[in-house]
Amino acid sequence: MSRPPAVLGAPAVRREAREKAAGAARYAAEHTPSGCVYGWPVPAAIPRGRVTSLGTAEVLNMPGVLAVLTHENAPRLGQPDDPTLRLLQDDRVPHRGWYVALVVADTLENARAGAGALRVGYETEEHDVRLTDGHPDVYTPEEANGGHPAVRERGDFEGAYAAADVRVDTSYRLTALHNHPMEPHAATAHWHDGRLTVRDSSQGSGPVRDALAQLFGLDRKHVTAVSEHVGGGFGSKGTPRPPVVLAAMAARHTGRPAKVALPRRQLPAVVGHRAPTLHHVRLGAGADGRITALAHEVVTQTSRVREFVEQAAVPARVMYVSPNSRTVHRVVALDVPTPSWMRAPGEASGMYALESAMDELAVATGLDPVELRLRNEPATEPDSGLPFSSRNLAACLRRGADVFGWQDRDPRPGVTREGDLLLGTGVAASTYPVLIAPSTATAHLGHDGVHRIRVNATDIGTGARTVLAQIAAEALNTPLETVNVEIGSSDLPEAPLAGGSSGTASWGWAVHKACTVLAKRLADLRGPLPPEGLTVSADTREETGREPAHARHAFGAVFCEAQVDTVTGEVAVRRMLGVFAAGRVLNARTARSQFIGGMTMGIGMALMEGSTMDERFGDYAECDLASYHVPVCADVHSVEAQWIEEDDPHLNPMGSKGIGEIGIVGTAAAVANAVHHATGARLRDLPLTPDKTLRALQEAPALSGRGH
């Protein structure tokens, strides 16, 4: 039998693309069971305190209102792992926007009107929402997110730093950011015969099912969570969120199916944010640029509801030669909404600071920023001493420099002008860890010749369905068209969420295993296919549970050309190139889409995204997409992604590393470094909006425009 053309790596089109483009793909809020009721949540209007009175009776008299759920009457919930889901259980208001009630009505309009009319009395307490590195309540947590130690010390940082030929001591500040996926969080819930079925906009219906079972005291078997299509999440749907819990409460209370779809304005308070981070970075190096001392110390915020510690100093444990190193996370609990996962949590923030500091070190040593990074390539992972399974940062830097035309760069800042514009180029490295979770899957061949793959993966717009079909087709040695993939329901074989850039590796491994076994059984088959076809189940618990003998990370290099308008302070990215080394790329089309999507989000992080804590009220000021600025097409002139194929046998049978997040990592630093090169001004506080750049230009009058 001749082998069909390679399907793995081919730019296969997203399987649901036509459905989505035609509006036929239905999302969580677009399922309306017969008799459905609607819930509209009521956010707390104080920054801290407790609820003292609720004007429930008046609202119950309003047209169509069926129930007003509050801490006084809402179903009692079991203790969740995630305390942000402990909704309507007591009178505490831990931050502004925390839900104090859910109005349930026969229509969305009536629910919203009821919610708007509900009078809530509060006892207000003094609140504190200001993050400073000198905050008296700053503490060192036991660990940072991802199970990373909060503090790591190697060698003698202070001694080596004091003895270094060249020292950089610098601080950076990143504001809070919000994920704001195109589809706001929404859920529909339905109780029937003691069973609960929900349709939820989530990155993982397995965790949703588990949380609901825990909260409502159900056997996991009696809960089904479906996330068929998801309009983006960027981490904010990586954990179960209030809508699905509230919908289930409303449905249980009213005895009818219930739907809760959040208005975008409520998102900033209840579905997480990238925590603001304050970075202190110190680099000591020899005159040759070789780093002898590295300290990256981060202060961040969490809420009073739960501890969440953005692991922003972790990449400094991975990136460069650093015989003497200190990496520290400290945190302060404030009366703010609870921070959570946002694309490349830890890496995006941490690499902005570290890669900006590397640019400062390049300037201080007089070395080219690419060369400086090449000189600091470690032989093994600095923190663990483990060998890298593969590390092609140097190749990414070299290829990128070639393709971008880096060699022609005049290293002097502020010298390239085009009328009122100052032009500059910048580079930064990127990294993201290889994460893999255990998964199960089944593969079935029926008499219709269709190979049915079942796995509870989630496609959040990335192309998961498509790439899983490719993995199956490759393992089965069958044309892609003969593969059918069923995903997005907790009734399917158990699988982890779409998060941590781990989905394809985790689900794909199980799919690959099931298909490989199926292919072998088909090859070994004596006689016809049994009447019921052949089914193989696979579980990767054993393979994925082994302690890896290697440090496994994807790497990349981002090059950027930026222009700074000296009249207005406006910064624009003229062109950007990312070169990534992420194992084997399994679908060229969807991979490119992930890379350039991440890079575009990085432009947003660098230039315009930011959530402003309103200290008086305790909420974030930007609550809609008119005020929370994400890049629009006109901001993105040329973004190109390339990759270096790696043959890494230490990953998974497909040889892939995750690609969903690395695109954003390093991008913000590349832009900021280009702005420094353009202007000579080092701005250390993102985003680089015109107010900040204009001030910097004013302070360096030699660089300002013809307007002066």
Partner: protein, 335 residues
């Protein structure tokens, strides 16, 4: 959103009569701002009088060389109109720099003038705001105000008017035509919007029930070129941090006519009369432009986080005026 009644009159006279006949009425045109405000609970009309389909949808030449723009003309149509593109170039630029293609297709000339501030406190009914709820206070003064006013604000309100179009209209000395049950009258665009003072809830000089029927552009001064430039946080779909509209004609190196207006600085498009007076008859060079802009902006009283707007406005004014004086291709010769 509060339930409301909907009325669609056929003529301007019917519209103003409908307004008089209903309490709690508001005119609805493109709805790009009003409907949002209704969803937010900021606007709570009992009756919407839809004026978007009144016979006010044409752009016509006026004897003597001006242009009469019907109040219902869509922003995208106005921006693309040949007379606007050739003679009132800054207006076309201003329109195209506003909002998004979809919004411009819906938004009207009259509605654009009447859009309300995007101050975050105004749009959030859980917070105080003197403009939305008089007497409750202005949290923006000490709060989040990077985007807000530096000129002409009061202790009661620091909001800015968000329109791009109105800034260009002010620089062109346009006039707003109004109709009411009491008859017709006109106001200069520059005088149409108010400063907040102690009544920030009132944005304009419109009388209750008065309807905008059109905007009239006078002939472009001989030899004048015009340009609009807007600084913002992203390249599209963002309100102006500061914008400038300028109409300039230069003869023998001297300023013969200048119209200059700023957006993003105040509760209304800021007509820079002092700068204009300083410039007319003087040299058309960068030094003069800078001195004039600085004189105009000397009255600025920035808040904690928006002092950059003063420098930005100055830079923009100088760049735009200098570009026009240098004959940059920013507009075609007026007739």
């Amino acid at each position: 959103m509060k339930p409301f009644a909907y009325v669609r009159p056929g003529t301007a006279a019917e519209a103003v009569a409908a307004y008089a006949a209903h309490t709690g009425a508001q005119y609805l045109a493109g709805g790009t701002n009003l409907v949002d405000l209704m969803k937010l609970g900021v606007a709570t009309p009992d009756v919407l009088i839809d004026v978007s389909r009144l016979p006010l949808g044409t752009v016509e030449g006026v004897p003597g060389g001006g242009l009469l723009i019907g109040a219902a003309v869509r922003n995208s149509d106005l921006a693309a109109h040949p007379a606007v593109r050739t003679r009132y170039f800054a207006l076309s630029q201003a329109l195209l720099s506003g909002a998004s293609g979809q919004l411009r297709n819906a938004a009207t000339t009259g509605g654009n003038l009447l859009q309300r501030t995007r101050c975050t406190y105004f749009q959030d009914i859980s917070k105080p705001c003197n403009k939305r709820a008089p007497g409750t206070g202005c949290p923006a003064r000490e709060g989040v105000h990077r985007d807000l006013a530096v000129l002409g604000h009061s202790e009661h309100c620091v909001a800015t008017h968000p329109s791009d179009m109105a800034v260009a209209l002010a620089a062109f000395d346009a006039t707003v035509h109004l109709h009411s049950t009491d008859g017709d009258r006109s106001l200069a665009v520059s005088d149409f919007h108010r400063l907040p003072g102690d009544r920030p809830q009132v944005d304009t000089e419109l009388r209750p029930g008065e309807l905008i029927t059109g905007v009239e552009l006078p002939p472009v001064p001989t030899g004048a070129r015009s340009a609009y430039r807007k600084a913002r946080d992203r390249a599209s779909y963002a309100f102006a941090l500061v914008s400038v509209a300028a109409v300039l004609s230069v003869e023998d190196g001297r300023v013969r006519h200048v119209g200059l207006a700023f957006g993003g600085l105040a509760h209304r498009p800021w007509r820079a009369r002092r700068a204009e007076e300083l410039l007319v008859g003087g040299p058309a060079d960068r030094e003069a432009f800078a001195a004039a802009a600085e004189t105009e902006l000397a009255a600025a009283e920035p808040l904690r986080d928006n002092a950059f707007k003063v420098l930005l406005a100055r830079n923009l004014a100088v760049a735009v005026l200098a570009g026009l004086a240098d004959g940059d291709d920013q507009g075609e010769e007026g007739s």
